[in-house]
Subunit: 396 residues, 4 copies
């Protein structure tokens, strides 16, 4: 057993840490200023382009991409990027594009790769993944009601999706839509995925959905598909393989999400530690008060456990395959966001009123991480996966 | 021991319930539409004026006001109003005006009452209370740095305040400002309160502060006071009495806040119960799933305990005075918001992705209630009050 | 709404407090010494008889008995008795006899009352209630497998019961046994109760069961019934009424249990407060350390809420009947033991190693209260009762 | 990063698993029977000797001993032993002897090693470590009041210790006593350790202390030292080095304790999984009830995190030394017992009444693990260590 990073991962980590210190953290204030000047919550501030160029120049680009790094080597980098809201996009490692690029790499035709994968790898366009539906509990894939029907050489899509992250971006050029092609097939063979250019007739972004009051730049949209017609060649992979591809997409994606979230928790802990060393109440620095020390200790203990747990899941994927790691991935999907919320909440409390406003990123972090207890399956569904796996070990 | 409402409180409760059902709940959609049309987060939607006229006509007006009702009779009404974000303002029972009206009633001169109390009671103007400061841990009143200095027949105010709720309202006409008049006095005799018309020269609303991304209509503002000069007659009460008046203001105010918050929790529980009876996942209504039933049961159990605890504190104030109830009030100040956050968080989880957006009021409730663990003293300070009181019982 | 005790309850409370201070607390050390000298964990120490004579002389006897006091008047007395492990028995208000006496009073024939109720009221004998079975989840009454069969003028009982509290006492003269008389009846009409003298042929106390290592004086026994024959006149109430009578028994019994448990929690809090004011670590009295203050504050807050919640349930029983109070009683059954365990656990932690031993009663309290989360239905079953009641309010 | 066990650790693990399956688990019932027959809670049942001979023959003996295995290789073995209350002693890897053997190996003179270390390695005698004192908060070593005074060629010891684990064993031949040799030295240089044969004049085992009602076989004793005289050669290490040696002893010892405790939690989870698959309530197997599935999932998630966290601390000790691992060791000292208590408590609840008795080892596990939140420094002290280390990273 060896917990040390590999030499190549160590080198990348050091380069990434330098990039964060030299460019990303200093750009945060610039970003806020530019967003404020744009007066468009879905605008694209120039500082991001400068960061992207710099990251690419430094070789810190598309590190998530299959074949680049093992999961266990990439995971610590995802954590570091996650410390800043600008980090993942600066390095072209932001969701939902990463998962979409993986899908295209694994299942895309040459034509699909040329048209969408390459521009995504070059960060010239962005993409979205349209699975969740407003009218059903769509964490159960058998409930999906969106239809993808073959009509001649085309597929015709009808349905309503929401919480389609990224669809509010001016640069979002393509949606990967999950729907049913065959409602008579076996329950988990009814779903397929199809590539729908954002500007196809019949695609309507009905509205953007705020998260706890925050309008995210790339947005989370409600989108309707009304007799949307795309060529049959836009089908991603095989008919009926949608559920399996979604699972494949979600495995590494969940590890990335978790590691970025651990970065968020580390940032919150840093903010808490800094804050409490600079404030005095009732005759004593906050840092010297026992209750706050317990928050800090619990944060460190919980973060370290969650990181090791996530790294272990990444290592399982590398060494035994995504399928063998499935239960472990459900485990981190539950453990990490809940851990991060506890840390952030304590950091908010330690900041007093400043914690719930926007002078610090804590309230935004809380809102953002809170969605992860729901996104891509609520905690309760993932706990069920873990429990059923455990129970099978001890059938009497 | 008798837990029954008094006949007069029962009558008011029934009238208020009817008003909520007939007017307030139906107005919520109208309110959202009008706010959206106003395109001004600090605008004043007409539906509120209609509700206010109606409430006044029904005799459901200023029920909080000292002398109207006992605390234990008013508390259940505050809970009912709190179920809707429109309820308290409709009945002219909204913070921070209620506390400010109490201060004016108890300590104001006749002139002050004529100029500010009467229009507040008529809901023609609104007011704000400026205590919290950005640069110090101001839950410790000895840290307050704002200065109120006597210069001839005037007082001159210099300082920076923030989280001044209500100051963004177009109707906010007066600020009650807490500052130090005598830094050489005993630690809790240095503070005074003074009435400052919002439009006095030197008063600058620097910015509004969002709460978890939400821009509240009445706002939470950062306000600077630069050589602000007001007549000496604007001093509220005596020089040096600021701390005591703040305590007096906060006693009933905390009970009101807690009861409104219990109303919020009840609304969240109602939403959760309705939602889970209409959704199916993995072959079973959410309402039939054991985990969700445990959330509902814990919500009911926690709400009922918190309500009784708050009513008991109200009864203590009525029967033994605000001072004797001080520890109990610190207790409810801790217990109630934490309880409500647990209930709301479960309701969010039960709503899936819809829970974190704005189609339901849950995320807004969460953000709003989260501030109550900080406003007017963080949990930790109030727990300290309770603990020290308890320890004194058992000195060995 | 009036939280004050009635004058008669106030008088009894003051008398009981005096009895506790003058006799019961001082007897605790005597009790431990006598038990140690008896060298029989099921022995009967003389000090108890002295306490009982004294309580009877002071009119603090059988206060639980129906018709003596309302539930809301009795509840605060049960709390006070519960502060000492000797209190309830000293006043002849100890489980399981109280519930059994209620059953006999409500459903017993004159002959049954003469033979068993009167000696129980005089504390000359004790009794047990045999419902739980080892081989099935008997919190679901339909699972009960014990059979009570009519054979001529007798009933013949066969079955195995366990956790029969009180059956190890040398004074236990009668068991109220729950079993099925008619397995063809409707699910909740199959059960009956029958009075079985402890020394009837075929009744075997197989063993005593320890609780967390503690051998309770009155014991918790496993008892087998092998062709046990008793006269038909020993049937309690009607055939098929067993389930309903069990519910009736459990209502007030749960309130008493909860109030005694609140007394336990108060005692633990007292012990914690005393301890931390007498110990210094790392240069500071434990009482001055923030973490410990938070434990004390949370204990006070949680205890006060739980007490009011239990009193309210008692008041509901008095004013609207046991049936209307059923959900509230399930609520307190969940809330109170969980609260008490949190308080006791913190008190243990504050005592250091002394907390887990027997120089203080804390570990024993923990073990004893832990059983209450299971006895007479586990938390999860009672939460289900509360949840289903809540859901019915909001059927859409 | 590589989470795989080394080949040699894998081989030992497989051999140990076989030993557990073939000998240890089957011996548990024998052990209980023999203890019951001995009718002496501090007796020594023959089955243990058979297990020890077998373990020694299989080469599963003294695996903890410095130089045998790295910490990270030994840790998984400690977990496996910890699954049975017989495992550690069977393999001569039981506390407190392991820590005492380490001390003797590191700091003992040749004579001390010959007299005590060799018989301990051969499991012919046992030992105890006397640090904790009843009258002071001895988690703060500066509070220690026991005196060790040089008088001629001897040391004379006076003091009172308690919770001296192992001192009730008939085989306990030596106590390592911590006391102050020089109260004028710097605070952490006042303490020394000395070897005191159990049967020296002046050593009195005053009493055994039960833990939550359980009388542990090896006991936890209160021991007084009244003018106990031993030769100067019995001093362990240097005068004044007691505190540092205690720290050295506790580092690996805490890792071992944590890994054994993880084994306890795994066993509790196994018991829970088996139980719920064999019980039906309200028409459904317990295993199919959502609440119980959440308990199982949380147990698996929490155990896996705690194990990785502990292994990482072990690896830090191996790769960077005990000193560098100090904060991590405080972290696991807090995290692991709290985790195990949650798991065991859920397992108890899932077992119903059977969970609090002794037909299953769950209540005993709970009591035993509960002591670990206090033994060798309460949680709060260790959280303080972690917090202060964290704060130093972010001094502003």
């Amino acid at each position: 057993m060896d917990f040390a990073l590999s030499p190549s991962a160590t080198k990348l980590r050091d380069e990434l840490l330098a990039f964060m210190d030299e460019r990303v953290y200093p750009a945060e204030a610039t970003y806020r200023r530019q967003m404020s000047e744009l007066a468009d919550p879905h605008g694209h501030p120039p500082v991001l382009e400068a960061l992207k160029a710099e990251a690419r120049g430094r070789g810190l680009w598309n590190l998530f991409f299959p074949g680049q790094l093992s999961n266990v080597d990439y995971a610590p980098l995802a954590e570091i990027m996650g410390r800043s809201m600008l980090g993942p996009e600066a390095c072209n490692c932001a969701a939902p594009d990463t998962g979409n690029m993986e899908l295209l790499a694994l299942f895309g035709s040459d034509e699909q790769k040329a048209r969408w994968l390459q521009p995504l790898l070059d960060a010239e366009i962005r993409s979205a993944f349209a699975m969740t539906e407003p009218d059903v509990a769509s964490s159960d894939a058998t409930n999906i009601s969106c239809r993808i029907e073959r009509v001649g050489g085309d597929y015709v899509i009808n349905g309503r999706k929401w919480w389609i992250s990224g669809a509010a971006s001016r640069r979002c050029e393509v949606l990967i839509v999950m729907g049913k092609t065959d409602t008579d097939a076996a329950p988990y063979s009814q779903q397929s995925m199809i590539l729908v250019p954002t500007h196809t007739a019949g695609v309507t972004v009905v509205r953007n959905l705020d998260v706890f009051g925050y309008t995210d730049r790339e947005g989370h949209c409600e989108v309707t598909f009304a007799n949307v017609r795309v060529p049959a060649g836009n089908l991603l992979g095989q008919e009926g393989a949608g559920f399996l591809m979604a699972q494949a997409r979600l495995g590494p994606g969940r590890v990335h999400h978790c590691m970025r979230t651990i970065g968020v928790a580390e940032r919150a802990l840093e903010l808490m530690c800094r804050r409490v060393q600079g404030r005095v109440a009732f005759g004593k620095a906050l840092a010297d008060q026992g209750v706050i020390q317990q928050w800090i200790a619990d944060a460190r203990i919980d973060i370290d456990q969650a990181r090791l747990y996530t790294l272990h899941a990444a290592w399982l994927m590398d060494s035994e395959g995504n399928r063998a790691a499935r239960t472990a991935v459900s485990g981190i999907k539950v453990a990490v966001p809940n851990m991060a919320l506890r840390v952030i909440d304590h950091a908010i409390q330690a900041h007093g009123a400043a914690g719930v406003g926007d002078d610090f990123p804590l309230a935004w972090m809380y809102a953002h991480v809170r969605t992860l207890r729901l996104a891509d399956g609520p905690d309760e569904v993932h706990r069920g996966v873990v429990a059923r796996h455990e129970l099978r070990k001890w059938v009497t």
